[in-house]
Symmetry: C2
Subunit: 82 residues, 2 copies
């Protein structure tokens, strides 16, 4: 878990993620990744890459655009905790 | 699991992956993703993206360069099965 991330805050912020990645981090499609139990550092790195444009995806690029560093740390901590 | 992938063949081909992603798909670093139980379709899509240059990473871009579509399907099937 990322020490800067707040699991409870991440759970609230994860509402927008659940449609694709599942309410408990198990995704609804074979083409979308499970997030439950994933490494927090990896999750944060990917969200920042989507936000900053170094990784691109039709859905994630826009989903990540408005996230702050704190949002990202919270989301990463939440999914890593599942 | 990808119906085109062979789990046993994937296990053999995964030797090169284990140094970072772990012998059982749980990675050795917070910055590297766990692969165990990940969706096969997502894993295959990402390996093809690394191979074809639409996703880039200092390590994965070169690791994926020589993989055939069959290698990728086998690896995806193997990690999804864990």
């Amino acid at each position: 878990m990322d020490p800067a991330g707040d699991v409870a805050a991440g759970q609230t912020k994860a509402m927008a993620c659940a449609a694709c990645h599942g309410a408990s981090g198990i995704s609804a499609s074979d083409m979308w990744p499970n997030l439950a139990g994933q490494k927090a550092g990896y999750l944060a790195k990917q969200l920042k890459a989507f936000r900053d444009g170094t990784r691109t995806d039709p859905v994630m690029s826009s989903m990540a655009k408005t996230l702050s560093d704190q949002d990202i740390d919270d989301l990463a901590a939440y999914y890593a905790s599942l």
